[in-house]
């Protein structure tokens, strides 16, 4: 069984010298809303308005490759949406996860494209399937579903069979 550090305090105590944690704390310590170390994976929850700045801080710490952007719908919990970013470091040979929690009332977050241009398609996919909008995205259009589709299929309140 691997070690689980369930909250921010324990992660800061045990993993304070982790390059990603250190980079975020050095940049702006109150942008780190929560942290978790579980199954050998580090998850850092970032305040919504700080995601681009945190991205730059992480990138300077050596996490150069954005692998994936996706979302999870925690309906009917609040905050409802979680956007997850998986970032790999080619030099440290390590992967971390950043995440942002979004309320149902305004599912909007800044686009991460200024830091990692490869987020373009991923953010379009999340917009298409979850209805989360990314501020500053150059071409936020549907990518999987037809343009005139109504609804966002990966939301939990969207039936698996679709609307009949």
């Amino acid at each position: 069984m691997s070690v689980t550090l369930a909250d921010k305090e324990s992660v800061l105590r045990e993993k304070a010298d982790h390059p990603a944690v250190a980079a975020i704390l050095n940049w702006k310590s109150d942008s780190l809303a929560d942290a978790r170390w579980d199954r050998d994976e580090l998850t850092l929850t970032i305040a919504r308005e700080d995601i681009v700045g945190a991205g730059f801080a992480i990138e300077n710490a050596g996490y150069n490759f954005l692998e994936d952007v996706t979302a999870v719908d925690w309906f009917p919990a609040s905050p409802r949406f979680q956007v997850s970013y998986h970032i790999v470091s080619h030099s440290l040979k390590e992967r971390i996860r950043l995440r942002v929690m979004l309320d149902e009332s305004s599912p909007v977050v800044d686009s991460i494209i200024p830091v990692w241009p490869s987020a373009n398609y991923y953010e379009r996919e999340v917009f298409d399937l979850f209805g989360i909008r990314f501020d500053g995205h150059p071409n936020l259009r549907r990518i999987m579903m037809p343009e005139e589709w109504v609804g966002h299929p990966l939301r939990k309140d969207y039936p698996v069979e679709g609307y009949r």
């Binding site: 998850t43 954005l66 994936d68 996860r97 241009p117 999987m144 299929p153 969207y158 698996v160």
Partner: protein
């Protein structure tokens, strides 16, 4: 609800603000060299590509949504259908992710058979790539040669899994069953002759001036652009970035194998061709090491509440029958949490992000597929080049539309 209607080509965003002398050309979705249903909207000035816009989604089947309605073990056959040219990589990545959630140790033999079959899958996928890529360029012969060897690999898959393409052989907790008796001999006799076959393809293509001229200095992608645009796998290594998850973040006991990671500084289609050809030779070495050092022991984890019992036990032992019934009808609960498992598939970094809420069905399954990200780099590679080069570049990033659209 809304029905699908085709977006008229002139309404696609590419045509906006274009100069008078350019024209908009539609390529696909039914085009022989797009390797599936990839639709490209090209703005061309004469024969020069000014802009390029991939329009995808024609194969979208909502696999991620379907996964949420299935038990964990029922998702395995869905993963085959994503990247249909390397089904075992999808099986492996999903199983590793769920095993990580369960913190379930896998017996050595199962891990080694997984490595062996993953590398055979890589050969299978690269053979299709080589055949179709050369055919796009106009070298038709190679296609017939590579499909001859691919048939041998598919027969091995059929022997081991009962299926040629949609194998579903890797299961959560190990393999679906012990490999058959003559499996290792069949693999041995295949890889004994295979390096000669690679030489054969190389003889047909590497010195062929038409092929060389069509590939060299085409589709330039610098290392910085490749990283910025999310390109992984052979195209990334052909741009000089030495990164391979098998070596750098090993999974499924890859750390016990010795192999080189081929790279090239050429940054063009030719470099990608050389890297993939070399990768095939390295895969043969890995398979040989797996055959030589294959450990003995079970191929399923000792977890009766997660792994289906053997057929024979299920028919003769009461407890196994109960476990079988429970797993099939109710599935098994997976502890809450989220994991991301990355592996190196034939096309690059594949990743499965599995979120569990503690029930028997995954709360969320997301697949990170290498083709999806690599497609973003297509415009960078084709801009300012000839229209005919687009075909060569598509072939060089080796897209599979099944994994782009999911």
């Amino acid at each position: 609800m809304a029905q699908f209607t085709e977006t008229p080509i002139l309404e696609a965003p590419i045509a906006e603000g274009s100069a008078d002398q350019t024209m908009v050309l539609n390529m696909g979705p039914q085009h022989p060299s797009t390797h599936g249903v990839l639709r490209l909207v090209l703005e061309i000035d004469g024969e020069i590509v000014v802009r390029l816009y991939p329009e995808i989604g024609y194969l979208h089947t909502g696999i991620e949504k379907t996964c949420e309605a299935k038990f964990y073990q029922q998702v395995v056959p869905l993963t085959d259908r994503i990247d249909y040219l390397s089904p075992m990589h999808n099986n492996l990545c999903y199983c590793l992710a769920v095993e990580k959630l369960l913190e379930l140790p896998i017996p050595d033999k199962a891990q080694w058979v997984r490595v062996l079959l993953s590398e055979l899958t890589r050969l299978n996928s690269h053979l299709v790539w080589l055949g179709t890529h050369a055919m796009d360029i106009g070298a038709l012969t190679v296609f017939l040669y590579t499909f001859r060897e691919r048939e041998d690999i598919l027969r091995i898959f059929e022997l081991v899994a009962g299926q040629r393409m949609m194998t579903s052989y890797f299961r959560i907790g190990g393999l679906s069953m012990e490999p058959p008796l003559d499996f290792f001999e069949r693999v041995q006799s295949f890889i004994k002759t295979f390096p000669e076959k690679i030489d054969e393809y190389s003889n047909l293509l590497t010195g062929n001036p038409i092929f060389v001229n069509r590939l060299q200095n085409v589709g330039h992608l610098s290392a910085a652009d490749a990283i910025a645009l999310g390109v992984t796998g052979p195209p990334l290594r052909a741009s000089g970035v030495d990164f391979d998850l098998r070596r750098d973040m090993p999974y499924s006991s890859y750390e016990k194998f010795q192999f080189k990671v081929p790279t090239s500084q050429r940054c063009d289609v030719w470099g990608r061709y050389l890297v993939r050809l070399e990768e095939m030779r390295e895969s043969v070495k890995i398979i040989q090491q797996a055959l030589d050092g294959m450990p003995l022991g079970p191929v399923k984890a000792n977890a009766p509440k997660i792994v289906l019992p053997d057929r024979e036990k299920m028919k003769t032992q009461m407890e196994s029958l109960i476990h079988h019934f429970k797993i099939v009808t109710e599935g098994f609960a997976v502890p809450a949490g989220e994991v991301y498992q990355g592996i190196e598939s034939s096309r690059g970094q594949m990743g499965y992000y599995v979120v569990s809420d503690g029930t028997a069905k995954p709360y969320r399954v997301h697949m990170r597929n290498p083709s999806f990200a690599s497609l973003q780099a297509l415009e960078t590679m084709c801009k300012g080049r000839m229209l005919a080069d687009v075909v060569a570049v598509i072939g060089s990033i080796d897209v599979v539309l099944g994994e782009i659209d999911r």
